[in-house]
């Protein structure tokens, strides 16, 4: 198997002595869409932040393409990420939001127009983001993630706010992305959607990995993803 695109090893992050992520290990390879699941406060977002270098681990390692995120030469060209759908200046236009990030990554104006077209925001690109709907903000976030034509996408709750057509579009897009060799790590609470979109699920609770199973394994067990998820997380709760 090829080298992992993203890998965490014995990753631990504590806040005031309380572990949010506890000795977590997993790896993600190219061509894979992995769902990152867990109850609220399970440590999903913290893990994604550690992987992206926004937070420093208490111990363990988090690497993308074999290096710490901060050590990547051109991170935007390797990794695209959307962590919050509200990470925009409300008085800046959608196009300018993407442009300021393109400038810092040395990406030209042509690509800015291209990614806005890709997420179907060209018509609204010159409107201020403050007037965007939740779904439009999600798509704008995705446009910034795709700016550098990355090989790894890390998406935190990307389905929130998307209408059915948007969800359908995202599902098809992620599949094309993975079929092209890209890897996707996507956290979500919408299990029915995850079931249709991902190849594999990582289920965590209280910062610990509870399950790492392919969708084929789950299906062969006879249950749905929701049943599997509830059985695993409720067993821990008891």
């Amino acid at each position: 198997m090829s080298a992992p695109v993203a890998e965490v090893e014995a990753l631990t992050k504590s806040f005031g002595g309380v572990p949010a992520v506890d000795d977590l290990s997993f790896a993600l390879h190219g061509g894979e869409i992995a769902g990152f699941l867990g109850p609220n406060g399970a440590g999903k977002s913290t893990t994604l932040r550690l992987l992206l270098g926004l937070a420093a681990p208490t111990s363990g390692t988090a690497r993308v393409f074999g290096r710490r995120y901060a050590d990547l030469d051109e991170p935007t060209r390797s990794v695209g990420a959307v962590l919050e759908f509200a990470d925009f200046h409300p008085n800046r236009t959608g196009r300018n939001h993407v442009r300021v990030l393109a400038l810092s990554s040395g990406i030209d104006e042509h690509r800015v127009a291209e990614v806005l077209e890709l997420v179907d925001l060209s018509a609204a690109a010159d409107r201020k983001v403050g007037g965007y709907s939740l779904g439009m903000r999600q798509r704008l976030g995705l446009a910034t993630a795709l700016l550098g034509d990355p090989k790894l996408l890390i998406l935190d709750e990307p389905i929130n706010g998307l209408d059915p057509a948007g969800v359908h579009w995202l599902r098809a897009f992620l599949r094309r992305f993975a079929d092209g060799g890209g890897a996707v790590l996507v956290s979500s609470h919408v299990l029915a959607e995850v079931e249709q979109s991902v190849d594999r699920v990582l289920i965590i609770n209280q910062g610990r990995l509870l399950a790492d199973q392919s969708m084929t394994e789950i299906a062969s067990g006879g249950g749905s993803l929701e049943q599997t998820y509830l059985a695993i997380t409720q067993a821990v709760a008891r």
């Binding site: 990547l72 991170p75 990794v79 990420a81 200046h89 800046r92 300021v100 990030l101 810092s104």
Partner: protein
């Protein structure tokens, strides 16, 4: 670094915040000049030193305050809106991000003081002429006020950026800057030996202000304020590198 500078410049120019602040600054300066010129007696206004002092007190002090606020906004707005996340994902070398913000804030801070002093000068000339009083500052005085003010504004912009990066939250940053520049520095006027080394007084010194409690050596004042700006920038870079981004 060039890319980051272009990005930070685009951030400043793609919202109306900076333009709005500069317009508010110009309005405040006009109001302050008009009130002072109408409130002061003729004999005091006819004195050349007092006119220049008026321009420094209003132009440099208000411009310097706004320069620091613009610098602070460059960082705190990113934390308030969450854009700090995409910013550091695109540029994970955080020292470079803060350095680029400091350079752009230096330019914006210099512009703030130029707007402030320029507006004060025009407003003073117009208001004095309405009162049939001559405007006494020389061309050299204006050059000193504008050039010195621009340098001071640039350095205060850097200090504002650093304070914003250390505190992060917008309102507490603004409160800290207001308390320091408008309250503590005014209290320290009673201790001239100390006051001449506070940032606001150093800004006045760089602009050639001649008064007790202000360093009379322009170059020394610039050097000390520059040291403050570099020191603050060092601490802010260190804090930004060490701390997590939520």
């Amino acid at each position: 670094m060039i890319r980051q500078l272009r990005s930070e410049t685009a951030k400043v120019t793609t919202t109306t915040t900076t333009v709005g602040l500069l317009a508010a600054l110009a309005g405040l300066v006009v109001l302050a000049v008009v009130v002072h010129v109408y409130a002061l007696p003729d004999d005091q206004l006819a004195n050349g030193d007092s006119q220049r002092q008026l321009l420094t007190d209003i132009g440099i002090n208000l411009g310097g305050l706004f320069a620091a606020l613009i610098g602070a906004l460059s960082v705190t707005t990113e934390f308030r809106t969450g854009t700090i996340r995409p910013t550091v994902l695109a540029s994970p070398r955080r020292a470079r991000v803060i350095a680029a913000k400091a350079v752009v804030s230096a330019g914006a801070g210099a512009l703030a003081v130029l707007v402030s002093v320029g507006t004060a000068s025009v407003a003073a000339r117009v208001t004095l002429s309405v009162r049939d009083l001559a405007s006494t500052p020389s061309a050299g005085d204006y050059v000193e006020l504008l050039a010195g003010g621009a340098v001071a504004g640039g350095l205060l912009g850097v200090i504002g950026t650093a304070v914003g990066a250390i505190i992060r939250a917008q309102v507490p940053t603004f409160v800290a800057l207001f308390i320091w520049l408008l309250f503590i520095e005014n209290v320290l006027v009673e201790l001239p030996g100390v006051h001449r080394f506070v940032p606001g007084a150093l800004a006045q010194g760089i602009a050639g202000q001649s008064r007790e409690g202000v360093l009379q050596d322009i170059w020394l004042a610039a050097l000390v304020l520059c040291a403050y700006a570099l020191g603050a920038l060092f601490f802010s870079v260190d804090a930004t590198r060490r701390r997590d981004i939520a």
